[in-house]
Amino acid sequence: MTTATSRVPGAEAGARTQTIAVWQEQIRIRVLSKGSGPALVFFHGPWGLAWDPFLDELARDFTVHAPEHPGTTPDAPDDAYKLDGLWDLVLCYEELLDALGLERAALVGHSFGGMVACELAAAYPRRARALALIDPIGLWRETAPIVNWMMLNPADLPSHIFVEPTGEAARRLLGAPDDQDTAARVRLMWAMGATGKFIWPLPEKGLKKRIHRVKAPTLLVWGREDRLVPPTYADEFAGQIAGARVRAVEHAGHAPHLERPEPVARMVREFLTGATS
């Protein structure tokens, strides 16, 4: 494992950055870290990682580590080709926990990252101290199909993810709406491609067979107006994880932690503090 540091978005928010190579040094994962307290690992969604107010809020009580999914770290796009599937990805993240020196940690994930956190907690139940899943994917109900955001016109993404498509949260995650920022568009498209590798064509890869292995105290957070992954999935997850709790977020879509950072951070912080103390 090698470590390097560089300046990145998030640095201005005071996050430390390091790039950790796992998988026999073939997969380079940049990790943003901030705060102090018990360890918390945050797995971002399919649109890439941008340090945000939600993570800042969590960093007041936790040492937050936010890794970038393989292939989404700048200068390492082709790392996306080096894993064959979800099993490889879960093993990579287990190696990353070792590299960060974390025997156990609270795992938090959004959307695709929620699926990753849940899979990791199912594969290695003892390493997940607590689990907070924000509008996660990973299960499938025929009566409630999940929208494939990779088939949408990129210009239509904001209105599918956010209740307020022109708001600050949308701009922070997806870049300027006017198409002018080519670098942001490349980053966005590639993040969807690299994460899409593990969920195409339907985001259900067998979690339903493994989810019973999750032993960590679990919180499900769902935006009441999620247009991509219907809120009914909160019950689907909660029904399969013993003791799981569900919290709905008003006036929020698929990314409630970005549109309503303070209340969502409060929910997550209170839950994790109770679960990890």
Binding site: M151, N153, M189, W190, G196, K197
Partner: protein, 419 residues
């Protein structure tokens, strides 16, 4: 020069407001609202009759291709069509050009190697083996292949296909995407070491490299005509030169829409609405579906987004005269068509293996036969000798068909549309 008749097998009777009412011609058009199986059976038979008519009229080859879940061209299995064509053209020197069965959607991919070997056996060694990557709509959206794996799967399947045709010993294939313990193809193709291979593309740089590296014929399947293809094909020939390969024009194929009539005005009267139907309805697909995230590698994605020149023109805003003026379609009198094909396509792009699409969109059967007939009589004979004075060998054509087409028994005229 080799000139082949290409067919898409489109839906010929979409409603006039199709593109306003429906999201897409591909992936999601509702079958039960738009089609009727009995009528579609008629389309398939017309398609076969039109290609057989072209074969008998003197074309060098007949081409079919694979697409799924669409009204633009729906031959999910081009090899079913190819086997009919192979059987019914036996005794003639027409090539069966499969453009072709799509490797990433065939599982295991040796299925394509087997079926192509069957076609080569049935046709007596007249197969051209097109090995396309497949469109993102077909491969990713309809057949569920992960976009990021699309090209890797293709490269593995291509290597497996070539080895399966040629290996003298049974071998095990331990690939990333396919594992086969006993590869021992039955049958093998007549053509040795393997049938000529064409790789269709739509201008991506990585496909140029692949085509040159594997010494196959690169075919640019464009609907935007030779003018917009020029810089693309120049790029291909640059790669050919850089790799130290000879600039043999038969190394390149190109697809061109063509409509021939007695004169230019008649061409407009006969063909305008069918050309507009094709560009307005048959290509009605959300732009994002041509490039789902991960389908383009990172280098191509960055290049495309930094320089989105090719997306600048929306065909829905163009009319027949625009399509003709811009060269999307070469239409007019035989003299007009001859001249434009020779200057813009054959010489302009340096193309030895030309494919022409003569049944366009809603064009009815009788008019398609008329177009094929006029092209065969008034255009094709004038273009056939284009490259002869340079003495190139068409290594990408079945060896026994490389000479000029003879007037064999298959040339005998047939009643139009005799199914």
């Amino acid at each position: 020069m080799k000139i082949s008749a290409f067919h898409l097998m489109p839906h010929r009777e979409l409603p006039p407001d199709f593109e306003q009412r429906y999201e897409s011609v591909w992936v999601t058009p509702p079958w039960w609202e738009l089609a009727d199986a009995g009528r579609v059976g008629q389309y398939y038979n017309w398609t076969l009759d039109e290609l057989l008519y072209a074969a008998r009229a003197g074309f060098d080859g007949v081409c079919t291709n694979e697409h799924h879940q669409n009204a633009y061209g729906f031959m999910p299995s081009p090899n079913l069509m190819g086997s009919v064509l192979a059987k019914l053209t036996n005794g003639s020197d027409v090539a069966i050009v499969q453009m072709g069965a799509t490797l990433p959607t065939s599982n295991p991919p040796i299925r394509v190697a087997e079926e192509y070997a069957m076609l080569d056996c049935i046709s007596g060694g007249r197969l051209v083996a097109g090995l396309p990557l497949g469109s993102p709509m077909d491969v990713n959206l309809c057949y569920g292949i992960t976009p990021l794996e699309h090209r890797e799967r293709y490269r593995e399947a291509f290597a497996l296909t070539m080895k399966a045709w040629q290996a003298r010993e049974i071998f095990a294939w331990n690939g990333r995407y396919h594992q086969l313990a006993n590869v021992n193809l039955w049958p093998r193709p007549i053509q040795q070491p393997h049938p000529p291979v064409w790789v269709p593309g739509s201008g991506s740089i990585s496909t140029f490299d692949f085509a040159v590296e594997h010494d196959v014929c690169y075919c640019f399947l464009s609907y935007s005509g030779a003018r917009s293809a020029r810089s693309m094909m120049d790029g291909y020939w640059r790669v050919v030169a850089e790799r130290g390969k000879e600039a043999n024009p038969y190394r390149a194929g190109f697809l061109q829409l063509v409509a021939v009539a007695e004169n230019d005005a008649q061409a407009e009267a006969k063909y305008a609405r069918h050309v507009e139907y094709f560009y307005h309805k048959c290509l009605h697909v959300p732009g994002a579906w041509f490039a789902p995230p991960g389908n383009q590698d990172y280098r191509s994605l960055a290049a495309t987004l930094a320089n989105p020149v090719r997306r600048a023109e929306n065909p829905k805003t163009l009319r027949y005269r625009d399509f003709v003026e811009k060269g999307y379609v070469i239409a007019g009198s035989p003299a007009t068509v001859r001249q434009r094909l020779e200057e813009e396509v054959i010489k302009g792009l340096r193309v030895g293996n030309l494919m022409v699409l003569l049944q366009i969109g809603s064009m009815p059967h009788e008019l398609a036969l008329e177009n094929i007939d006029l092209f065969a009589r008034e255009v094709l004979p004038h273009l056939r000798g284009t490259w002869d004075d340079e003495g190139w060998v068409n290594h990408w054509w079945p060896e026994r068909l490389r000479g000029a087409r003879s007037s064999g028994p298959a040339i005998t005229s047939v009643a139009a549309g005799g199914a």
